[in-house]
């Protein structure tokens, strides 16, 4: 019951959360000359930089007739899923601490804290998607399945919300959580389908990589972007989202008030 009530209050507060997101976005670049354009400029420059380095400096050829451009598209499609995952999971443990002063003095819907962090983490992924789409059109590889992109994005948002609730609570008690998550996500990006292909790793390593449930999140995004289909990955993605979201809400609902005592 508590869990349901928490999720209902989360939905009711969406409008408030969006206004707070707007505030956070504005405060990020307030007073700078280019202002909010930085939000798009930074991921754009980075991604274009990656693409140029992969294509013209590293000239990666994974073999089996896969061209460098194909591999670039492979990486970009993986990054679209990985960027928001990495960023919002890293930020989640310190969400409460960063707003401690406000939380101490104002009755604040603490469960809405992840919203602005997640939305802001989706923006660079959006920029990466645009670059991906442009390159894919050039390669005539863009498939109609791209129209289904909102489905994995929605699932990812729900997954991140649940995970952020768990990490928020964890971060109140164990400060080190932020660093642990950052290190793990930094390593996993190299051991995930973002950079690797089954051809590069061989069957054994690939299966080990697939133990990490986050690998399936990447595969599902790639399914939609590149018109492939991995049914098992979808089952894992949906199941994972449901489990994390419910357990996050379960924990959050129970410790919501107690957090105030511990900060």
């Amino acid at each position: 019951m508590l869990t349901l009530a928490l999720m209902r209050s989360f939905v009711r507060q969406l409008r408030f959360s969006l206004a707070i997101t707007e505030r956070d976005l504005r405060s990020l670049y307030k007073g700078s000359v280019l202002g909010l354009s930085w939000l798009f400029l930074r991921p754009f420059v980075y991604t274009v930089g990656y693409v140029l380095i992969i294509m013209f400096v590293l000239k990666v050829r994974p073999g089996n007739g896969v061209s460098t451009l194909d591999y670039t598209l492979h990486i970009l499609s993986g990054m679209i899923a990985w960027q928001p995952l990495q960023r919002s999971l890293e930020e989640a443990p310190s969400l409460v601490r960063e707003r401690m002063e406000v939380l101490r003095q104002i009755v604040y819907p603490i469960e809405t804290l992840p919203v602005s962090s997640i939305i802001i983490s989706l923006i660079p992924a959006g920029v990466t998607f645009l670059i991906y789409a442009a390159l894919a059109v050039l390669q005539t590889q863009l498939t109609w399945s791209v129209l289904l992109l909102p489905i994995p994005v929605l699932l990812l948002t729900l997954l991140l919300t649940g995970a952020a609730w768990i990490f928020m609570v964890g971060g109140v008690v164990v400060r080190d959580l932020r660093e642990v998550v950052a290190v793990l996500m930094g390593i996993f990006v190299f051991l995930s389908p973002v950079l690797l292909t089954p051809e590069m790793t061989g069957e054994l390593l690939w299966n080990i990589i697939l133990i990490n449930p986050l690998a399936h999140v990447v595969l599902c995004f790639r399914d939609v972007l590149q018109g492939t289909f991995h049914p098992v990955s979808w089952i894992i993605f949906v199941g994972l989202t449901a489990i994390i979201l419910l357990s996050g809400a379960f924990i959050m609902a129970r410790v919501k008030l107690m957090i105030y005592e511990l900060i």
Partner: protein
């Protein structure tokens, strides 16, 4: 009788300090009973019960650390309750601190918008109130400048105006009412009075006795987390001040004054108190007569002794001024006259025609020394010196009449009005 809107029943709040901050905090978080010996417990609020009816204004007073803010936070829903229950009916707004969510880069207008959002207002509500807030804050054309460029007075005014823009049913205020210049403080008081006249229920924590007196008809007094008094404001303030005195006395002199802090110790003061019409008092009413009674003993016969009482003021709750120098000595002629003290107990009574200082807390330092013409006072050679021998509170006969910003009441001998001249 109107309905009860805040009902606090036997509420307790315990703060834990765990040996192991991680497992301890996790146990606390999920309300698993911690193992004995792994924690220390501090009872911030201990068995407090009271109820507030609609439209009542209740002051909460008590020394620092007596649990006032903890209690308010529990009522506002900002802290879990460990035992007992709190039920609140109506939209509560807690003003525990000003300036929440202020971004110095944002303009005044943006800060009003997002500040209002954090206070629980909707976009439309804020847009509707914006002109009133800007007007109240007296910001004029600065409203679109970044907050960081504001003067400290402008900042205080803006923050207060944002907080005051809410339309609560129940208002919880913690020490937030004293910001900005005198005129603005008065404006805020006026605003609060208006809210109150509209039937808003208010819980008000303040160290400023005059503010409490101005707004509250009823007060509760907390002492070390326990409710020690609940009732009429004047009685509550007397209770609080006597408690403060008792504590100070206990801290400094453990019951009575005892041996002097400095001096030769030939004279010892045992006790000191203030009297008015033969009754012991803790509060001196400005402009009215009172007496200082000192009892003590001397160890030898002393032919000529002088007594000097220096009065120091602490921060005045009304004028907010500090006067760290002695503001007064008791009488130049009468009390400065030398007198004889025989060996044994004695009693000195100094009658004062009127208290002519401003309001606030005062302390009296007393020194007794030889009255020889060639004697130069020093702390080592005087008979006795007591710092903070007595503390008292001075109040205006009618705070509304004298207003704020008054340092002293000048005694008027006669008011003569002539017409037809």
């Amino acid at each position: 009788m109107t309905e009860i809107v805040i009902d606090v029943q036997a509420v307790e709040k315990h703060f834990y300090r765990f040996r192991n901050p991680i497992t301890g905090a996790l146990r606390r978080m999920f309300r698993v009973k911690p193992r004995p010996g792994t924690y220390e417990i501090f009872r911030a609020v201990d068995g407090v019960s009271f109820s507030v009816r609609r439209g009542e204004v209740v002051g909460i007073i008590g020394a620092n650390g007596s649990g006032k803010t903890t209690l308010l936070k529990m009522i506002a829903g900002l802290l879990p309750v460990d035992a007992g229950s709190i039920s609140v009916r109506g939209r509560v707004h807690a003003l525990l601190a000003l300036g929440m969510g202020i971004n110095p880069e944002f303009s005044g207008r943006e800060n009003i918008f997002y500040g209002g959002l954090l206070l629980g207002m909707s976009r439309a509500e804020i847009a509707e109130k914006l002109p009133a807030i800007v007007e109240f804050a007296e910001l004029g054309e600065f409203i679109d400048q970044p907050f960081r460029t504001y003067s400290s007075g402008m900042r205080a005014r803006l923050l207060f105006s944002i907080s005051m823009s809410i339309t609560p049913e129940i208002l919880i205020v913690d020490e937030a009412l004293a910001t900005g210049d005198v005129a603005f403080v008065q404006k805020c008081f006026h605003h609060v009075s208006q809210l109150l006249s509209r039937g808003v229920t208010m819980l008000f924590v303040s160290h400023s006795i005059s503010q409490v007196r101005q707004f509250c008809s009823r007060c509760i007094v907390l002492e070390k987390g326990r409710l020690v008094f609940d009732g009429d404001t004047d009685a509550a303030i007397a209770h609080y001040i006597s408690g403060q005195h008792r504590q100070l006395r206990e801290q400094t002199f453990s019951g009575n004054l005892g041996p002097p802090m400095l001096g030769t110790g030939e004279v010892v003061i045992n006790s000191m108190h203030l009297e008015s019409n033969g009754v012991r008092i803790l509060e001196v009413v400005i402009g009215e007569p009172f007496a200082l009674v000192i009892e003590g003993m001397s160890k030898t016969d002393l032919a000529a002794v002088r007594i000097c009482c220096e009065v120091y003021t602490q921060k005045s709750p009304v004028t907010f001024s500090y006067l760290p120098l002695p503001v007064a000595v008791f009488g130049a002629e009468e009390a400065a006259a030398p007198f004889v003290l025989k060996k044994g107990k004695w009693r000195i009574r100094i009658d004062l025609a009127a208290f002519t200082g401003g309001d606030g807390m005062y302390r009296i330092d007393v020194e007794m020394f030889p009255a020889r013409t060639d004697y130069h006072f020093s702390y080592e050679t005087c008979y006795c010196y007591y710092r903070r021998a007595l503390e008292f509170n001075a109040i205006y006969r009618d705070p509304r009449l004298f207003g704020r910003g008054v340092l002293a009441e000048l005694p008027v001998a006669k008011l003569a009005v002539e017409t037809d001249c």
